[in-house]
Subunit: 429 residues, 4 copies
């Protein structure tokens, strides 16, 4: 097909695509190319990407080594779709995951290749926890996000997404996340009291599922102490402890897992987003061997054998996780990020949210946050919001972004905040 101008090409989206699309409303350009932390539109304009595919592009767009590995694989007629058959690409991914991720961390997990979406990995985790324990109740947390298929959606907090179900959802009890009721109240104690009370009305749980940093719920970061307490509560009450590491994992918060060096040992971990390294659909449910009681194909899915993703995933593990160099780089960038966002927050008397390279500023309201993101986009920066009221301006830059580009992007952000608050300040003056 020939290339028409954007004005000619835009209407097809309105004509043929469902109104459910969302990001294209904030960033109404036709994009056609992307490298590293930069996306280009068809007119050649470039944008710095502080969204990074919602953290599915932690290593940036089209990393040259991943790209090379994939092109080679395709060129040699490597298997694209392998269901759950043994393939070369899968074997190499498994081996590298064992070598670079599991062994060095002393972890013992079985990998379930679920349908290649995070929601599917969560569905598998919850199903398995119910099967293992013979219980149906699952504890999830305020502001948690775990996906929008019915089983995962039941565990998700967001009212708009929940309304999409069109039917009441069951099987999940909501507990308050760390700090939800303010610093005075230890919400883990509240949960423990309820689970310890045979008359509380909270049914004995199959699992407690938690994000260490709530990516969609407002970049709320749980403390290691609180997470350890939650894990202990799960154990004490016979429930599996599940960490949904889909957004916070794969280096986003520093280590490969977001819970490293916290002394945690989750029964199940879900991974997706950046696991393939190049943004290709892939999801994993990591299961402690003693819980891996699935019968063959009990949970299945046609695309669980997306071998292209296995190829790039392996390449990513080899490139970024064979030693601790990358983790250190990420730590440095996270420090820079904390400094710069901290300055913004301090200047405008706002709260910082999040952890590692998953940090944001609570702009005080969804309106102001949206306004700031829109102004950023006008200045060539793609950035989005998070939180109950979309009030947090969230930086999810590629972890591989160069310092120069990172500083430039943060500069745009700082200026935009300043301009946005100038009106208020002047009005208040």
């Amino acid at each position: 097909m020939k290339t028409a101008s954007f004005d000619d090409r835009l209407p097809v989206f309105d004509r043929v695509e469902s109104g459910v699309r969302s990001y294209s409303r904030s960033f109404p350009k036709l994009f056609n190319k992307a490298v590293g932390a930069t996306i280009y539109d068809e007119k050649g304009n470039s944008y710095t990407d502080f969204l990074a595919g919602c953290s599915s592009l932690n290593y940036g767009h089209n990393d040259p080594d991943l790209k090379k590995a994939l092109i080679e694989y395709i060129s040699e007629d490597g298997i694209a779709q392998g269901l759950d058959m043994f393939t070369d690409a899968k074997e190499q991914f498994l081996s590298s995951f064992e070598t670079y991720i599991l062994k060095p961390r002393g972890l013992d997990y079985r990998l379930q290749f679920t349908g290649p979406t995070g929601a599917n990995a969560v569905e598998a985790a919850l199903k398995l926890a119910r099967k293992v324990t013979g219980r149906t109740n699952v504890i999830s947390f305020t502001n948690g996000f775990h996906g929008v298929t019915l089983g995962a959606l039941a565990a998700t907090g967001n009212a708009k997404h929940r309304a999409g179900a069109g039917t009441p959802m069951a099987g999940v009890t909501r507990a308050a996340f760390d700090g939800y009721y303010g610093p005075e109240i230890n919400t883990a104690d509240l949960l423990n009291q309820q689970l310890s009370d045979p008359s509380s009305g909270i049914d004995a749980p199959a699992a407690i599922i938690v994000e260490t940093v709530q990516g969609e719920g407002g970049l709320n970061a749980a403390s290691p102490e609180w997470l350890r307490q939650i894990e202990g509560i799960a154990q004490a009450h016979g429930a599996l402890f599940i960490v949904d590491d889909i957004q916070a994992g794969c280096g986003r918060t520093g280590g490969f897992f977001s819970f490293e060096e916290m002394g945690l040992s989750p029964d199940i971990v879900t991974l997706a987003k950046s696991i393939s390294g190049m943004g290709l659909p892939m999801a994993l449910t990591l299961i402690k061997p003693e819980h891996d009681i699935w019968t063959p194909a009990e949970h299945n899915g046609t695309f669980r054998g997306n071998n292209h993703a296995f190829v790039t995933a392996r390449a990513a593990l080899e490139k970024f996780w064979a030693d601790d160099g990358f983790a250190k780089e990420v730590a440095d960038k996270a420090e820079l990020l904390a400094d710069r966002l901290g300055r913004i927050a301090q200047t405008h008397d706002l709260r910082l949210r999040g952890r590692g390279m998953m940090l944001g500023v609570d702009a005080g309201s969804g309106e102001r946050a949206a306004e700031i993101c829109a102004a950023c986009f006008d200045n060539g920066l793609i950035i989005e919001t998070s939180g109950s009221h979309d009030e947090v301006v969230k930086v999810l830059a590629p972890l591989t972004i160069s310092d120069v580009q990172f500083r430039a992007g943060l500069g745009i952000l700082e200026t935009t905040f300043a301009e946005a608050f100038a009106t208020r300040n002047s009005a208040a003056a």
Copy 2:
């Protein structure tokens, strides 16, 4: 990583992969390459593929034109993961879908790019139907398969998959598929009676979801008359009519949709499996414009913007569906298939099942069917079973398979059936 021998490499699967894997149990080889209808293992042995990624590889493995388009796209740093932003690749896919699929068939649908799994497309369809109608009940059919995430699983019939839920599922009422109770009973009449009776206990449905040919449930093919009656029942009772065309669509039964030339006009159609053309994860929910009432992002999913798949999907539409040449070829192959399987069925007094290039032979029992598939694999043919008791040997060859290879594969099948039944015959003699 270095390449070890298979004996060295196999154990990683046992060590690190979940026991949920299934096809690798039937085909315990390490595969590393595939072209057209042929898969190769690492020792260079070739196998004819009558499984075709469970119909997700209708155009065969690594079709040269699709492969070329994809390599070019990646080489030029085309966007891999675009969330639901406007991208060049998506625009071209939408335009070609409009041009080659919708317009020629006089169809008007909005395309929702759901998370790239069939289950996710079904979840979106059911959620939307509930939202549109304000009702919660969904009618699905005996032996239906719609996926294993909780919302889709509720509509799925298979007990093993249902057991995986670990919790009771709600919101779905089961009706009998066409012919379920034998030729004497019109099951659509039964359903209509129940829905017309205010005291039947069947709540007014949001939707009736049906496969025209039940791919997993035993290759049961519904008649056009029955499908039209079901559509009429849906309309009469205020329910949306949903065709799950994930396995039967994309040419598998002849036309692009499995319900073409039947006079049907589904409110929602789900597509996945072969829509990307190359086996890459992609799924679509097609929605009549009047039902496209989603709010932005109400149903979302990180990988709904798998642009690699959009590229190959567009290439596939242009190559295979720009005119009716391919459909005619498929019709010819389907005729050959019907002849050859018909001969097998007649010889051994067995029943033929299915339609188009989705045809099988009911081997009488799951044990015999498994035995036949195993023997075929020993002879270089990959083929699988289907049905309540896995009793149907199911041919899902690539639609692009050459006549020579197709006949050879069918020859293996015929011989294997003959050998399998020889024992019985001799025993009976």
Copy 3:
């Protein structure tokens, strides 16, 4: 309080009672007295009662022996409310139930005194069946009525009642009652096929619950053969077989249980309505000893010790069930009823419905049936409708009604039918 005239007294109902009341709309008189089959309004008008408290007054109003026993009991300060403590009245009821009901029929049941409503007895039955089997699904039938509390309502077919739930209900799968699809189709075979098919989508049931005659659902009487087949299906599939005998039991269809002499042995039987004999609230769940696995108070309810009802219940058992005299009388009356209703049905080419003293005529439409009942009331006969569309005029006379009064009532009915159909006939002429 002083007695005001009816015109003065009626408004309090509109002012203070909920609009949920129903029978008072059909019979808008103020009733103050009742003996046997006769009810009196405050003006002294008498009405023959063919409704009998919806079969909760099988022995008529204020039977002299029951009344005497109750007055004596109260006069002597017998315990009215005993929770589930051992009381004299309860002991005597249990002994007489054992002596007159269980022993002569060779039955071995444990009696659970549930909250004194039929719905509560059904709730207990379903809960226990789920507990015994560890399964959650329950099979109930089209047009079945089992009560309107949430657990029982899930098993009830009527759409109006179901709508009252205000929430979707789960845990029940609907099967077709005997004859539901006409005489050609054996609906038990359909159910058996579904339960035998691991891919039918019908989860293995905890119980099958059935009324032998559907009192609210249109007086559909199941055949003994069909019921035996259903019981066999329950056994074969590991489900408990529950007979809800709340409306059809206590002599209404001839024997004490509606299923006597059918060769059935239900695992659980529910009784309510006429069990107290005098219309006092009482309900029983009869449980085979091996299924009586309740922990103490696991299912409870304040009014499960309504000792007044135990007193009248015992008196009723002694008076009516110590020998087979009463059953024979009922059989004679049922014959008379069948003759007279048969004549009506034949004359107007209508269908007879029901069994024993639970018989009715399908008037062809709810409108006509309502019209006939209204005209009967004008002539001093209280009678109501039943069925999906309230199309069946249902005779539920006290079983103790005198022949003279019975014939007189039936005479009113016959005349009313004749008048109602006269218009139609003359119009058709």
Copy 4:
């Protein structure tokens, strides 16, 4: 039937009654008579009743005026069972309820006569709230008890009762009752935060249902301030405010309703237990007129017309609630009770629980509480426990108990506590 000795008569319970019975295990005597606050066993032993039918006998056993009214009614062939037809007895009850209860308190409610159990009144309340709001979620509280039919059980906290369901229950979200997390935490604030947060995962509620004093959950009494805040939260979030006054109402806590003089105006109130005055089964759902949107018979139940109960209920209203004399007497008795239990609590360093004539002492453990109750019974006092661990010894004496008998009973209790704690004290010394 002749009267056998107790030794002869006891076995029938083991032989024929379900093991679900409970109170008879604590009080294994055969009772045959009761007057006021005294129950007699068949050997003529008398017991003071501090259980009072779990507060269903607030006016004592066989109050002479209620008994007289009932005997007269029965003697004159008053209607026993009237379904929901207009009867003299019902009219008089409605009028007296309007005159003595509603009007003096400035209340405007419609009375729904539900099936005569508290659970049924709760089921009706929840169904109606869902119907009125079009929402399904209901907020109930930790340690709440609302009955054991499936809809009510979902709102009940007790794990043993919940386990009886045999199936997961949905549609209820649990909030923490007043003081649940200790005096520092205002649990109403926690609930409000969750309901105000669109991402908390708590679906917008149809209703908030609360007991002002949790009768089964441990005599936890909510403060008026907390209750007003909860009512305000319900209003602010579009939910109905339901007070379940089944155990705390009918004078138990002083006024006719437990929430009088608190400035509350519940949308729905449930009553049962003592509403009939004599322990006869009766239940009411009081509905603000604007919410009375039931269609006729949408919620029904055969025994909703238990006219015997209407007769005694009217007599009780006239005798006890025509002026404020009774309420004052109850207040005096409550003061006495608080003094005496307070002394016990102080002596043994225990906590007092409850309010009005619904007061208890937390004995520290279920074992000790059971021991105390057993010892009381040996001394002629019937008393029971309450609470998550059955740790509260609960006084539910008839409100009409004479001072002499009340003091005597409390004396037994005091002595028993002293003896029970003597061991501990001596051991500690």
